[in-house]
């Protein structure tokens, strides 16, 4: 698990490699200023941090499926004496682990 400082170093290297970057101000294309590059490093590092720390939340939400579908799985588990809903949830959690 990377620290925020480590991710900032990683982000700085990626932005350096991506230069030159451009912005479009009222339809005029300009190269980034030093301040723009510094902000891009901060934004990229924060994005990496959020993905690392909290990305599992959205990934699990997408993978769980709708409440209706889950209720349907529970119903048929009751009818058939199976455990498919719990196995589905276990798989989603295992595939998208919460950071330690």
């Amino acid at each position: 698990m990377a620290t925020l400082e480590e991710l900032q170093v990683e982000a700085a290297a990626e932005i350096e490699a991506a230069k030159p970057l451009f912005k479009q101000v009222n339809n005029e294309r300009l190269e980034f200023s030093d301040a723009d590059y510094a902000q891009a490093v901060t934004d990229l590092a924060n994005s990496k941090w959020n993905d690392q720390q909290f990305g599992y939340i959205q990934a699990r939400q997408e993978a769980y499926g709708s409440v209706q579908d889950q209720l349907d799985m529970m119903y048929w588990d009751k009818v058939n004496g199976t455990d498919l809903w719990k196995e589905h949830i276990d798989t989603v959690k295992a595939d998208n682990p919460k950071p330690a």
Partner: protein, 171 residues
Amino acid sequence: MAGQLIQVATSTVTSAVASVTLTGIDSDDVYMVAMNNVVPSNDTQLVQVRVTESGTPNSTSNYDYAFKQMKGNTTFSNGSSTNQSAWFIFSYTGTGANESTNGLMYLYNFNNASEYSFVTVEESTRTNAGNLQGNQGGGVFTSTSSCDGINLSFQTGNIASGTFTLYGLKK
């Protein structure tokens, strides 16, 4: 004609850029930003929005927001946060066929240096998973400063294409 929208600034991205800035807010009227077919260069990105002061994006931790995420394929959900460095009110989109973000933002109190600046957002996105998502919500920039425009970017990578237009209301 009373109530007519007038174009203040526009940017059409046809060659990738990291950000788009629209400026020209110089009155206490309500302004509107229209975003059309906004596509990222990298997959799984969402538009981040900042106010500009004298043309410079403000990235201080003064952005609060809350929104409803209406999803075509699954249960609706909510999103919210406080003290962020930008508004993250839009849906994740991607680089797959027909994936893009489209939306409107209304801008309130931007020019007024003694009030917080507010936005409302309504958008329709084909997400990076190929699903339909529409967000509806609002945000506030908790600083009493005069803002002259809006800055839009993705957290990672470039804006590959899109059209961004700032409108004012002609009196």
